[in-house]
Amino acid sequence: MNMRHTMIVLKKEVTDLLRDRKTWMTSVFLPLLLIPLLMMFIIFMQSSEAEKGRSDIPIVLQGGVPAVADVLASEKAIRIVEPADPEQALRDGEIRAIVKVAPNYERRISEKLTAEITIGYLPSNQKSSIAYEVIGGLLEGLNKSLMASRLAEVNVTLEQITPLAVAPVDLSTDSEKAGTILGFVVPMLLLMSCVTGALPAATDLMAGEKERGTLESLLTAPVHAMSVLTGKLITVSLMGFLSAISSVVSMLLAFSFLPQVVGAEAASKLDVNLSFLSAGNIVLILIVLFFVSIMFSSLMLGVSSLAKSFKEAQAYLTPFVFAALVPVYGTMMLSPNEIPTSYFFVPVMNAASMFKELLYGIVEPVHIAYVLGSSAVFVMIAVVVASRLFRRESLIVKG
């Protein structure tokens, strides 16, 4: 291998790619734009829907008795309507819940028995669920006041029959809170962009060059095939790495501008805290992404060289996106202190596991060493595979 030749190939490939607007759009600008927009859209939709769900709650009250109707009316958002077919109206979204008071309510209450009230709602519908919560809260209030008055008659206080007050307290630190949302989204975006960023370049630099017939001319120049492959590999890896960086930047931008765009209250619901982003963590994340980019790029270049055309290469390379996604899903349900040691030795999953730990504020040197070591080995294997595939004569001979 000759470094000068590699640099010539690299310089040419970068110049070529710099002029390819299509690749830049998909590799760099799209994630830069799309991720913040997507996140803001989701949060905006969620908060505005939730807002709507709380500000206006049309319901049906069946067998209404004054006591219940008064309690419900005490909440301004609740609006009692009388559609012809309440269940249909609920399904059509015209109303949010059907409150049904048993016909014997008044008698049962006066006889100090239990009276039944049902709240019909649709758990799959967010607004209906909100209505259920609000109505449930109001009726629980009514329940408590009825209970208190019954207890007063026998000289017992509410406190006397409530020996325990059990309340959940959120003890997570800021970093841990950040981890809950970011622990899945961040590794997924970062690892996926290593693939999506490198994919167009891997297709073009190998299958594209093969299809255009330029590869054969290139291989008849007095240059070792490995110098050509190395130049191409660096270019493709750079694209993957650049795309990952662009995803990181766009995500940071999204988080920092979120409060201004969707309002501080909506943004605070995300529990976003960027305290995990220390300089050391960023460097670690970048090193691992660098390894992952080279590994994916080598394999993708190798696979791209098997394809006879540009289109065929695109079809062959698409599964790599899943190869980046599946390992992230594997760590999604695990809390960071439960990640099995073996995960730090599985390609891609090792990176996802380490990112998750960092996001939760865990810096475990042994795990980091495992991840860096195993990643370096995977890179070597991937490069060997790519170089084997690149040496085949069928690279040149079509059909």
Partner: protein
């Protein structure tokens, strides 16, 4: 200059070239004739070091194509098939310079060579434009200039006139004649008997990977007792139809 000794090339079960031997002297223009699949491109690719012979040896200017591929590549200029093998997003000059650099030329040498080639092929007005928008003729000129940037002594052209219009094809034919007068060695494959008759000192007729004839055209006419190259060619390779 070029010597093939008992060269065979197999792709799995298929024998593309079988026990082929021939020699091309310096300054000679040799035509490679044969139907599609006769082994012309495979032969040229083996000489160009892109493919390795399954058996036999090929030497070019005293260098073995398998053992010293880089020395061989330095001496040859290649233009393969209808595909011009250019990068659309680079300008004509950048395409030429890229190969100049890979051949180890210095930057000022590349500039001089490119300017000289641009003048020779009248491509000054599109030299700085990107290849993507070029006509087939402009691309062909750029590809030729690129294959000549390192001033090769051996030229391998695989069906260089296929798909070209009359003007562009004539330019290539004229170029081959110029190569001969410059003392360069040329092997070119073709389907067009007229250009083979006009340009070649000797011809090699391949059929199913085997040598059917290798000598001057005059010798071929004498042997076949005819001066109609089409007819001779059909008689020699058309037996299967």
């Amino acid at each position: 200059m070029i010597r093939l000794q008992n060269v065979s090339k197999k792709f799995k079960d298929f024998t593309a070239v079988n026990d082929l031997s021939f020699e091309v002297k310096q300054g000679e223009v040799m035509g490679l004739l044969g139907e599609n699949g006769a082994g012309k491109t495979t032969t040229l690719r083996m000489i160009a070091t892109v493919l390795q012979p399954t058996s036999g040896t090929i030497s070019l200017g005293g260098h073995d194509t398998v053992k010293q591929p880089e020395q061989v590549r330095r001496q040859i200029g290649i233009l393969f098939g209808g595909e011009t093998g250019l990068y659309d997003r680079l300008t004509a000059r950048e395409n030429i310079a890229y190969f100049g650099r890979l051949y180890g030329l210095a930057e000022d040498q590349i500039r001089e060579q490119t300017n000289a080639l641009a003048k020779r092929f009248q491509m000054e007005h599109f030299l700085e434009k990107r290849v993507g928008g070029f006509s087939k003729g402009m691309k062909q000129k750029t590809a030729i200039a690129r294959s000549l940037v390192h001033d090769p002594q051996v030229i391998l052209f695989d069906e260089p006139t296929s798909g070209l219009d009359i003007t562009a094809a004539n330019m290539i034919r004229q170029l081959i004649q110029e190569f001969r007068s410059e003392g360069r060695t040329v092997i070119f494959s073709s389907h067009i008997m007229g250009e083979v008759e006009r340009l070649c000192d000797r011809v090699l007729i391949l059929h199913k990977g085997e040598r059917k004839f290798h000598d001057t055209l005059e010798a071929l006419y004498r042997e076949q007792e005819s001066r109609d190259l089409d007819e001779i060619f059909m008689k020699m390779v058309g037996d299967v139809r």
